[in-house]
Subunit: 330 residues, 4 copies
């Protein structure tokens, strides 16, 4: 039984609380939030104890799940590392890559496990795609196509604090890309525009973008990101290899079709990202817990977090300069 | 080059004329119809000569394609047989099975080739299903499901002359069934009703029916037939075997999808049976011609015609008596 | 908060225990089983107390969930009814319809809620089909097609105690049919055979069957049931109406396709019925609990249980006599 | 009846000959080829007369269909224009855009109709996509995704004479893009590599490329092109607008699925581009002929040819310089 403290009792914190509560090998002992009442309400719901954030790093627990606001992540990661706790941290560690690197250094020195919430890896269909890629049956990967389209533009306050579309939205797919292909990009070029909402452009960001990457292996990659579709949450990944192609497809939310006149009207995509992605939160947590229980598991670690962040930085620079940007890896 | 005379210059005759004209190994020399003007117009369109029906059986040709009205088929088949011509005849040979048997006897005595227009066998997807069935990879067939739904009720005059839903519509699927499974039914039970149009019921026919058959091999079969959908022409065949299932699916008429709101709106089925089935007419003709040219081909012959007709007779009897009807084959 | 006692700590009981534990408005207080150790183990897992079956009917609880073996259901239903508890009972109440009717009488006299575990109604796609049917946009229903194919034949011991394919497997679809169409059958004809395993035939049962039903409204229905596919769990429902058709489709278990050579290889169906149906158990329970909490809900009640059972009895009689059987309803 | 002369009796010429022969409003009178025997053989097959290329421009015909080798196109276009014939010319008019512009000037001065063989516009699904785009129901177009993947690398001789992947393969999609969106690109960036065959790289070309375009309207576009898949011909277009998305999808060549074990094995894509695209040749020709017959039709004209060519030139320059290239239009 792994004893957890959860930091953050907001939307994502509550979601994690439900999964921690459900998990038979987890004991959700403590919940902390700078808003004490929020922590108390969520704790009451799941039979946990509300404590202060400082107490999290001194109590008898095995792991900390960090789901607070982004600017607090690096600090909490460092403190949890110093306290010798295993860490599950929502992405990103910090919008500033150097600050994130500092936190990762603390984690590495402490030798504690760190998992980053790149939960798309735990989507069943994407995971099946990874399995296919690893069998080698597609041959050498030559082309990757990723579609990443949110249903609804987040509020401007969120946009402004997000670090931009590359660091906030595309970063999940930068991680997915490296993981699926076991490769890293050496060049990235991004074209973008604020098409759905001019105020996004005024804030210096884009809502529609196409990233083109060249991988170390020579493979080419395209990723299109948009902030709001008129038709639900749309995510899709294609791996094209020398001997075949595999696709983790758009997913209908139910399996109903109506035939009328000259049309077949089917259920469309999931209404929002949470409906599509929700099962991955539990699957990600479960992997982390199995790792704590001693099982050999594969999850997005500190290295993956920094890697995705460096790609997002380069992508952001390309967006700003309108030029391809080179990436080097040692 | 096979020289053809075509009898019948109506809707189906015109369709056959176009295919005969297009075929590079066919010379469409003559067209006959009891309506001489119709024959002349169609002949002019394709550089053929209009002749009388009597002349068809005395001219220098290799084959006769019979696409006239049903009551004339048996007579023309016999005359073509006596004249030693190869025969392609639209189904049925005659609504009365004994009359059809007489005509077949004449064909067999004359030793001429006879092909019946059960053209669904030549649908690419159904033909692929047959190939799968023949590999044995599905294991022993245990269950067959056939869906056969027309887009629009034919005129009452047609219904009244058709011999009923079993002899007119279901008969195509009785043939397809025997061909796909290489088997014959030993029992048939049909439940039906006139649901779309009461005047069909007053005429003693049904427009909606479910036939259940038990095959000699023990396999069970269900066939649903309807006369008018609200959504185009709907045809579908499933073969369920001990080791797998194969499906010749509903077919969209194009491959377009629109995603809007919570829906995916795709192109529906073909607007009518002709749009779905049209390519099979050419494929059927081509098979017949390749047979005339000496190639070893498989097509619905006299035996298949009589077999399907006996099943349709039994199905009609079951509809009338509301009881299962037994079929015996020597 | 509804306080529950669970009777039955076997496979289905354990599944219900997990859902009762997860539900935020449920307190799973007690678990009973004739195998006391099983009850204790399951109770320990969920922080409940193991008690004897007799104690279930005297403790301070709101509801009893009956998931014990079929022959005990009717007795427990009656005792729970006399004790004034709300009842959620796995199907069937009893294999013998008269015994089931007695139990239902007790429930009605006690005035307690009774829900039967016809959980397919709670499948998201079937539920969406029901919504479509209720809008009337399909027009008057004329034809229903249901496919119900299990992945693997249950053990012979199960088969022998099951009451036969109609009472064990088809009964779910008899309930679904009445619910979806808001109608009842007036005639049923079933053709069946033991094709996958002769010992099923020796036990007097079938493993492959086609049921044809005529509804009071005139609509025709076909249901095919098989016990083992070579390809996972296969369930499908089509409602064909005067103005359109709606289909709750076969469901792939993930959304992955591989394109290689001339093939597209996609994820197939769910490996077994539980993988396909599991979410419906929670959804069904949740509906029951919301009803207890005072919400207006629709679920399969005593009347639905008896209705499905009478259809299954008639279907079984048709199988045995090979003749259509008439059903009358007051 | 439009009287045609066909120049070119090779692979594409033969295909055009069959369509010209089939068309009821076309009289295929003459066929010319620099290889006289080829012209004679093809002419014999369709009842036409073989003539010299010079004679084409002096005979009594209405239209010339130019399907000879690319370097001859511009010359023949000019000669046909001077002779006052309507012209259907396979793409491109000339690999050199200035030479193509000269030929177009001759056509414009002569006032004769010129259609370019951008036949993908005539694909039924793409044409349906255009219709959807024109209704405005997708809202303002913001993102376009095009997939253009051939099944098999053409011979090196073809590659070397083709003008490169942009001018040979992508150009069809540059035309499709402008037509579908009624817009032009103002910036293009292409990343490419020779991944399937190093000798393509040695010849200075690529076989895998990703083009990113920014349209005058602000919309962003991505086009991926590959020379050989392991899985047939793969073509797909998505239009993403402010109010919805429409997709002209990958097309299976038949509609057969096999369910076995945990897989659904379906028919894959068309084996090669011709199988997928063949119907568009007839549809394109028919549109041209209807235009000659006085009907108001829309087809790829001289302006479209030059527009696509300028985009292909810019795309080629971007490939070579690895930098975005700007396009200006007056």
């Amino acid at each position: 039984m792994q004893r957890f403290a959860l930091i953050g009792a907001g939307f994502i914190g509550s979601l994690h609380a439900r999964n921690l509560f459900r998990h038979s090998n987890v004991s959700l002992d403590f919940i902390a939030d700078i808003d004490v009442e929020k922590a108390q309400a969520l704790a009451a719901e799941h039979g946990a104890l509300a404590i202060s954030i400082d107490e999290v790093f001194t109590t008898e627990i095995d792991a900390v799940l960090i789901a607070s606001s982004t600017p607090t992540h690096a600090d909490y990661v460092e403190r949890a590392a110093h306290a010798g706790k295993a860490i599950y941290c929502e992405k990103p560690i910090d919008l500033d890559t150097r600050r994130a690197e500092q936190a990762v250094t603390a984690v590495r020195e402490a030798g504690v496990p760190l998992m980053i919430g790149f939960n798309r890896r735990f989507d069943e269909s994407h995971a099946a795609l990874k399995e296919v890629a690893m069998t080698g049956e597609l041959g050498k990967i030559e082309l990757v196509q990723m579609t990443c389209r949110s249903q609804e533009t987040p509020p401007m306050a969120y946009i402004k604090a997000s670090g931009g579309q590359m660091r906030d939205q595309a970063i999940h797919f930068f991680d997915l890309l490296c993981w699926l292909t076991d490769d890293v990009p050496v060049e990235v070029h991004v074209t973008g525009a604020a098409l759905s909402d001019p105020s996004i452009g005024e804030a210096g960001d884009v809502d529609t973008s196409i990233a083109t990457l060249r991988m170390a292996s020579g493979a080419l990659v395209q990723i299109d990101c948009t902030r709001r579709t008129g038709y639900g949450y749309d995510e899709r990944v294609e791996l094209f290899g020398a001997e075949g192609m595999a696709e983790s497809q758009r997913q209908p939310h139910r399996h109903l079709s109506i035939y009328k006149g000259s049309e077949q009207i089917s259920d469309g995509l999931h209404a929002d990202w949470l409906k599509r992605i929700e099962p991955t939160f539990y699957a990600a947590l479960d992997t982390f817990v199995r790792g704590l229980d001693g099982e050999q598991v594969d999850y997005p670690n500190a290295g993956a977090a920094l890697r995705a962040q460096r790609i997002a930085d380069a992508a952001t620079k390309s967006l700003q300069t309108r030029m391809p940007v080179t990436l080097t890896w040692d």
